[in-house]
């Protein structure tokens, strides 16, 4: 489902060049639950952003669902992010002025889904993450755990086959973290492919496979 071949990412600032990824190759099959681990600056988030089509590699080839990502336009990449990939961020990245309902509805709006379909799906997702009663609250009125559950519901809005979670429990207390990981595990069991970046060995232990990065490379 996800195949990376010799992926490199170099950040240039003036005459300086920083090699964040140095030729990463990996394959993630459909329905897998994998964790990416590594120290700060090892390239975990960069790799996650490339897998999530939020960023493009400097070199190498990324094949997603047998499509070469390098050949896709800006809007085609947006469509991939909208339909195929759900993204959960460490700092939630919810729209601050929008309610839980509106935040969850957003990806469906960009996909052009009808009001009726959106409404049905939002109710379904709010119930699934246990926040139906909080639907009219803004992020600032929700706890960290609740915000991450809204973010998770938003990531699932268009029912994407892949879920990417960049340190989803990093900003949460242990109980909220457990709740999130429990939801992710359920989603995996339901057939979704899950790629998660984490620092936490305990959290990583829920996944089937752990990929360890160091200095922009995959440790054997």
């Amino acid at each position: 489902m996800i195949e990376l071949r010799e992926i490199k990412k170099i950040y240039r600032t003036g005459s300086q060049a920083l090699e964040a990824l140095r030729g990463i190759s990996l394959k993630i099959d459909k329905g897998e639950f994998i964790s990416i681990m590594g120290p700060s600056g090892s390239g975990k988030s960069t790799l996650m952003n490339i897998i999530g089509c939020l960023d493009t590699p400097t070199d190498g080839e990324y094949v997603l669902d047998s499509d070469r990502v390098a050949g896709l336009s800006f809007d085609q990449l947006a469509a991939v992010r909208n339909r195929k990939i759900g993204f959960v961020f460490q700092n939630f990245n919810l729209l601050p002025y929008a309610t839980a309902w509106e935040n969850i509805e957003l990806p469906m709006l960009f996909d052009g889904k009808s009001s009726k379909k959106r409404k049905k799906r939002v109710i379904e997702l709010l119930n699934a993450v246990g926040l139906y009663d909080w639907r009219d609250h803004r992020p600032s009125e929700l706890s960290g755990g609740q915000q991450q559950r809204v973010a998770l519901a938003r990531a699932l809005a268009n029912d994407p086959p892949i879920l990417l979670a960049d340190e989803p429990t990093g900003n949460l207390d242990s109980r909220s973290g457990e709740e999130i990981i429990a939801i992710l595990t359920e989603l995996w069991k339901a057939g979704r492919t899950i790629v998660m970046v984490t620092h936490n060995d305990h959290i990583a232990s829920y996944s089937q496979r752990v990929i360890r990065l160091f200095d922009g490379m995959v440790l054997p």
Binding site: L54, D75, N93, A98, E102, L106, L109, F110, S115, R154
Partner: protein
């Protein structure tokens, strides 16, 4: 038509409209200031023109004089007077003349209603009204051709005379006595601005039919002849022809500058027009500079708004918003804010201008209020303003929007 996105844009705009309030107010205030500035400027310019034409438009006045050159054995220093027949004499011989009118005048005791005043009384013809901006107030009229030919004892009076003799009563149909001869008032001069005059403003004058005037003043000579050319550009030519024709008739050198004198308002108005043009250019420059300052402010605010929304744009891009959605949203918001600000600026400016115009002007005092209290709202200026500012706002809205839509979602998400 799929209204999903427009409705979404609208709901997002409503959530953030407090943040847009400042820019909306800036647009409102800018529109109001510029429209008022230009309305007052144009009003002032118009009032100057009106005031200038209070005496009369495209008018040449010919007066008698005294020769300063010897001519055909005749000595210099001879008095040259004008006579009623000179009017038709000139009209018949100079085809460039549109209309003419004789005018005689003198100071007389005028009484009515138990009151007595001393005023200048004029004898003239119906054409005088067209040349000297003599418009009657409602319910009255100026002298007509029959009044003149039949020597009717009727009078057209200035509004100050009416006030002095009749107070707030309507003088039309009432009698006034001039030099012991009774005259019926047929009209009162409508109030007007007048910055050029002889014998005082027209408000203080009394006009009688030419032959009726002869009953109180039996001098044969007249004080002046009014000439209106067919085209303003022919005024100098007419002056020259009058000198030649009257020089031949009264035997003076047509090069003699003092045998006749002329008051050519057409030539005077050229100077006036240059002043009006200067005022308009000056106000135009001020308007343009104000517009520029306003546009810089608006651009700055638009940029700040787009910048402030970097993270939000990053989130939207990350969850699958296409580039055009980001551009459309920022652009529509900008245009909506522009429309809202300028609409209210227009409404307030339009109503203020029309309210100010309701304030009565005191025509007797010739004060500054006569020039300031008649602003003119110009739709033409408003449209030009909308096009220029709209263009600037469009550019200031579209560029940050395009820039935001092209940003790497990761960079935007990192923005705090």
């Amino acid at each position: 038509m799929n209204l999903t996105l427009p409705l979404f844009f609208w709901s997002e705009y409503r959530k953030r409209r407090k943040k847009a309030a400042l820019i909306t107010f800036a647009l409102f205030w800018g529109t109001l200031s510029i429209l008022l500035l230009l309305a007052f400027g144009q009003g002032m310019s118009t009032q100057f023109r009106v005031s200038f034409s209070g005496l009369g438009e495209t008018l040449i006045m010919v007066y008698g004089g005294q020769t300063s050159l010897e001519f055909q054995g005749l000595p210099k220093g001879r008095l040259i007077s004008l006579y009623p027949e000179d009017v038709s004499y000139l009209q018949a011989r100079i085809p460039e003349i549109l209309r003419t009118a004789p005018e005689s005048y003198g100071g007389y005791q005028v009484s009515a209603n138990g009151k007595e005043v001393n005023r200048t009384v004029h004898g003239t013809t119906a054409e005088f009204a067209l040349m000297r901006t003599q418009v009657a107030q409602l319910g009255g009229r100026f002298l007509n051709a029959d009044d003149v030919v039949q020597g009717r004892k009727v009078a057209f009076i200035g509004w100050s005379v009416a006030k002095d003799l009749f107070g707030s009563d309507n003088p039309v149909g009432k009698q006034i006595v001039i030099n012991r001869v009774p005259f019926t008032v047929i009209g009162v001069l409508k109030k007007k601005l007048q910055d050029s005059m002889y014998n005082g403003p027209d408000a203080d004058q009394i006009y009688l039919p030419f032959y009726a005037y002869r009953q109180i003043d039996n001098r044969r000579r007249i004080n002046q002849i009014h000439i209106q050319p067919r085209e303003a550009g022919q005024s100098k030519l007419i002056e020259a022809r009058v000198r030649t024709l009257l020089g031949r008739k009264y035997r003076f050198d047509d090069a003699d500058r003092y045998a006749l004198s002329f008051w050519n308002t057409i030539e005077d108005s050229k100077e006036g027009l240059a002043i009006f043009k200067g005022i308009e250019i000056f106000l135009g420059i001020i308007g343009a500079l104000t517009l520029l300052i306003g546009a810089v402010g608006v651009t700055n605010l638009m940029y700040a708004i787009a910048k402030e929304r970097t993270k939000e744009i990053g989130i939207k891009l990350a969850i699958g918003a296409r580039r055009r959605v980001i551009v459309q949203q920022l652009f529509l918001e900008t245009m909506f804010i522009f429309a809202k600000g300028t609409f209210w600026g227009f409404i307030v400016a339009f109503n203020l201008v029309h309210l100010i115009r309701l304030i009565p002007v005191n025509y007797e005092s010739f004060g500054i209020e006569a020039y300031l209290l008649r602003p003119v709202f110009s739709l033409r200026i408003f449209i030009a303003y909308m096009i220029i500012l709209g263009g600037l706002v469009f550019l200031s809205g579209i560029f940050p929007a395009l820039r935001a839509s092209r940003t790497n979602p990761i960079e935007s998400l990192r923005y705090e």
